[in-house]
Subunit: 228 residues, 2 copies
DNA sequence: ACCTGAACACCGTTCAAGT
DNA sequence: ACCTGAACACCGTTCAAGT
């Protein structure tokens, strides 16, 4: 039946493969990797697959679902199996790896914040983190709450920081903020004026490490509420 | 000179007011309030102001700057001056109020995550929070780090939770997640399978309260790193 | 059932031309 | 300097018509 579609005489292109969800997601991942998530549009993706945008809707409900699928594919790079150090060091390594993946493609971090995540790779990372938290002495519900907090922090910091990293005016935006702090009138913003540049001091990684410790120490010191 | 533009004979409309940044932002806020941020487009805004989209670019660099201005206007509703209870209760009230504003318009929470915030209303809220943290015994740098973490948590939870609140398929998405947890194979996700529905147990407000306490307790228990 | 072209209903931003 | 209409270069999604 495919004889009419790919006649022997015309073989400049490799035979057009049949559409499938996997093929669509794979092409979407490739575009995201080479051009960024912003360039991943239904039309651009369709062109890549040598078809029309409308055809994709047989396999994908909408672009949001596509974004979620691309995100989950990226999360397969997260290294969940670190064996160095105690549970705390291993958990830190897991979250560092998660953050590193989202830093590659900060638009994906924003997807992660908005979409309720449920892909297999995400669940895999969450499962590993839960195990380490329970190993560290947290109750089951405590671990459930802490894992949420830890991933939220990692995701949000990637969305926040990563966005600015590659932007042309990243430095300018930072300078603006520093200038605004320097110029903050002490009558209106007494504490900002007093604390001054200490507000933006420290390296990103130093601040991240502090956040991680704060959540862990806090979770260990704070009793879980009643679940229901 | 305006005689030709608004002749006496034609006064069905009130005299078209001159464009200004304040007028533009005010109209943008009005549209956001009545129709949501998603409906706030340059073209829609221009129509409201009885002009063309191109005219707006004299006063606003791009739509991102407009979003930031609208966000800051919304933040004027944040109540920073609670006087009930100790510093901890007052700080909790401040953040609850901040979160409530973003819940009204969750798309704004997403703006807040991506834009480096520097509007006067945001700084006002940050300043008040810094004061309470220092009152609570944190060092200046500790307060600087903690305030970031507290606002990040509040913003992210508004972006995450708020988005789902008003969506038509909010319940469906939640049910999907619960179903996925119930169905999680114990070989692949041992901890998720064991913890089960405890993962999504508790009320949003109970979980939020826990997060707040975790950050505060953690910040009080974790020494600040060297600033530089 | 799957695929398509065309259409619908939009976007943000730029720019030459006017005043 | 400010304002405009028109154009540029796109979007996501739907739908009737084909196979």
């Amino acid at each position: 039946m495919s004889a009419r579609r790919t006649p022997v005489s015309r073989r400049e292109r490799p035979a057009k493969p049949a559409l499938s969800r996997e093929g669509i997601v794979a092409a979407a991942v490739a575009i995201t990797r080479s051009e960024g998530l912003d360039r991943l549009t239904m039309r651009r993706l369709a062109k890549e697959l040598d078809t029309g945008a409308a055809s994709l809707y047989v396999y994908v409900a909408d672009i949001e679902e596509l974004h979620a699928a691309v995100l989950d594919d990226f999360l397969s790079e997260v290294e969940i199996g670190s064996t160095e150090g105690d549970w705390r060091e291993r958990l830190r390594a897991l979250l560092d790896s998660y953050r590193a993946v989202l830093f590659e493609q900060p638009s994906l971090a924003r997807v992660a914040l908005v979409t309720r995540m449920s892909g297999p790779r995400y669940l895999r990372a969450v499962d590993a983190a839960l195990g380490l938290l329970v190993e560290g002495g947290l109750s089951e519900y405590g671990a459930a709450l802490a894992v949420d907090q830890l991933f939220l922090q990692a995701t949000a910091s990637a969305a926040e920081h990563g966005t600015r990293a590659r932007m042309p005016d990243a430095d300018r935006q930072h300078e603006d903020l520093v200038a605004e702090i320097d110029a903050a009138p002490a009558e209106e913003y007494p504490h900002i004026a007093r604390i001054g540049r200490l507000l933006v001091a420290g390296t990103p990684s130093g601040r991240t490490k502090w956040s991680f410790d704060v959540i862990l120490n806090g979770a260990l010191a704070t009793p879980s509420p009643e679940p229901e």
